[in-house]
Amino acid sequence: MAYIGSAVSGILDTKLVAGKGQYTADVSLPDMGYMAVVRSPYAHARIINIDTGAAQRHPGVRIVVTGADIQQWSKPIPHTLNPSAFGGKTTDIYCLAIDRVHYVGTPVAAVVADTRHAATEAANLIEVEYADLPVVIDAEQALEPDSPLLYPEWETNELMHVRFQGGDVEQAFADADHVLDDTLRLHRHTATPLEPRAALAHYDDRAERLTLWVSTQAPHPLRTTLANTLQMDENDIQVIQPQVGGAFGVKIPTYQEDPLACLLSKRTGKPVKWIEERTEHLMAGGHAREQTLKFSVACQADGSVTGLKVRIIGDVGALAALAGWGMSYVASFVVPGPYKIPNCEVDLSIVVTNKGPWNAYRGFGKEAASFLMDRVMDRVADTVRMDRAAVRLKNFVPKDEFPYVQISGATLDSGDYVKALQDVMDKAGYQTFAEEQQRLRDQGRHIGMGVGFELTPEGGCIPDSFIGGYEGATVRVSPSGQVTVLTGVTSPGSGNETGIAQIVADTLGVPLGTVRVIQGDTQACPYGLGNWSSRSLFMGGSASLYAAREVQHKVLRVAASMLETAPEDLDCEQGRIRVKGQADREVAFNDIAEYVHKRAFDHHAFDMEPGLESTRYFRMGNIHHVPDDKGRINTYPSYPYAACVAVVEVDVETGVITLLRYVTVHDCGTVINPLLVEGQFQGAVAQGLGGLIYEQLSYDDNGQLQTGTFMDYTLPTAVEVPSVEIHHQEVPSPFTPLGTKGAGESGVSSPFGTIVSAVENALAPFGVRIHDTPLTPQRVWRMIQAAKNGTNGGADA
């Protein structure tokens, strides 16, 4: 094993660092037109009339379309996750709004013109007449009986209601030493990758084929969806994913603009390019996180948590075909996370409002569950006057009880939560922190330490969807010994291509430089579901491992025949195949490759199947779609986790929080490449920190987005984000051949609970309790003032 486990640089990095990456917006075709989308300026309205006359006549315009045309020419876009499959409501989503708009930014019309300037000019000439409808932007109000309805045919704004229950909750509460309640509010924010969405569609009239270059995470499912929407044969569609400039979930589903661009290419007979503007992305690219989390917890005086009732209200904005609403479902599925709380119930309402639709974002609801459980543990600790870490240690699922089934059916695979938390406390100096804290407090400085724990289920696999638990890969060796790996998983910059190359290079015993990984082309790659839920390396990598093993088996067989020994007696390293212990008896991997291709009928190869190529699929274990006796299923096969400690300083004059340290012990199973895993974790923490303190999608009462540009949707810079101290605890997954569990998402969830805990600790002299995010300076400052003024109830903010 030369490469697995080592910090190999990203195999695409030398290209990307020189600006040679080709992203979708960089791809051009002769005579392409540019698409501009007209979006609703109102949060809720009926479309009375659309006058496209002036736009049609504008010079350079090739086509102008509205919902009426779209309804004629195409079908609704299949939902990435259809709520109706979960007993929820649904609605048809076409590429453009048909007669009603439900949020500011709803696409209502589109133009294609010769130039981008002409397209936007024409878009400005389209006159849409709207009739206002009453707006509802608050989820709890939306649940009131007299609330305006987004989809009147539902007769409610509740998209879905879900309940999970286990044990005897009422008894646990009756027997408890303490019962305490709280309400937490997470605010709306989003992934907003640096590369906006983009698409280049080319319908070739002569070949009757459609090619779509698109910034997506899931090319194959996208092709299937396009075929449905456009009523074409899948065979006539090729989806190509160029380099993707970050995705973090938002590029998983099929967006309305994807089939729209295809359709307009077909209608105009020429390629159509669309590049999203940042303002469009922030209003319509998909939002996340906004949830109210109410809990009631029963505990004993010794800190053991015996019962938990949770009520989650997910404000998922308007419904789109994106998978966003599923995040609120997952939030409820993951409760109570890493803790053993047998008596537990979760009641979830997913609610639509006149705000931008939710879309997948790294964390996918697990961050809400982490935040909730971290707050539960902190509140219990404070109530029973125990150390916050000690309460967690007391309630963790013990390491000898895996697999452990939670009330939802979530089947936790493996781990050692106690050790992870103890280790991170040691690394962070948890036990000695109080002295330092006091010393600085005496100087008027307020630093605090918090603990947190995130459970990050990975590899999500949902019945009857393309969110699935399998992956395919092809390994192909050319006559010159070069290796091509074609995968169904893709990389939006998360580095799995490097990890996969490492696995294949080690398995074949060849230099890494001879391995090329090809992803994201439906014409070339085996069918696969793409990149999300940290699945790419542990599923795609496992499929690649299987395929590479099969190829290697043949290579060794030929080599053994040549070297007059048995395959088991051979070693292959850096392209040299040697008889174990006999350095002089060797043959080159490349020579075997050439031999197999050219001399398939010669005596070293005549009794085996020709070719050095294998396509294998990997099916993940620990997925249970057949309900158990309690009716539970398990949609997540793998449960990475991270124990974290944060150190913050709070400027009590301003409320400004500075994150000084963030230390973690992270278990993603076997680490294939620490450089990649740490890079992912660090980036995820930065997003969690950004979400907790700096970023907010804020709406006014009319449903107008107030933070629609990067001027006011403030992302953290290098000054705000400290370098995270990352330690690995490798408890291998029993369900993957290399023990990998999935990395990439983890890190985004823990900052919520960990930093909040640290801020409370820093402000302990004031007795501040935090319930709501974002933790803006103003909010923190207000809490401190309220505490100082003795209005301690008001210190709860």
């Binding site: 020189a18 990758p193 910059g493 450089l675 290098a718 370098s723 995270v724």
Partner: protein, 160 residues
Amino acid sequence: MQTTIQLIVNNTPCEATVDTRTLLVDFLRDQLDLTGTHLGCATGNCGACTVMLDGLTVKACTILAADVAGSTVTTIEGWTQAARQSGDLHPIQDAFVKHHALQCGFCTPGMVLSVQQLLQEKSQPTEADIRHGIAGNLCRCTGYASIVKAVQEVAQTSSE
């Protein structure tokens, strides 16, 4: 409305006719096919469009192509070509690769040029200098730690 400009891009004199509305970033990408310069926000916040204008880093989405007549523009492509030393890349780029100071690579060309500018002004920056020096370049992937490490290594190597 069109206007004609003459300027030097990546050491090569060039003359072009542009719509007056054309941003420098779009001119480079669409008319000169220099797609290493990226567009992330068009409000001057993200830094993905960073190029060198007359030797200083600027955000090319905040500059009109029409306004750079007579100037010298260097993009990541030209800079890499001119600045590389022994290998194919400049030591800053080598350090980025070594420390995996990029993931999706979308911010990277702009980030590299900002690092170049930083080290030009201060060859031995502190960590705080580095963080301030790249604050005009947002990265949504890395969380910056690996970038800081890469810059520290370049600075250290150059001092030896």
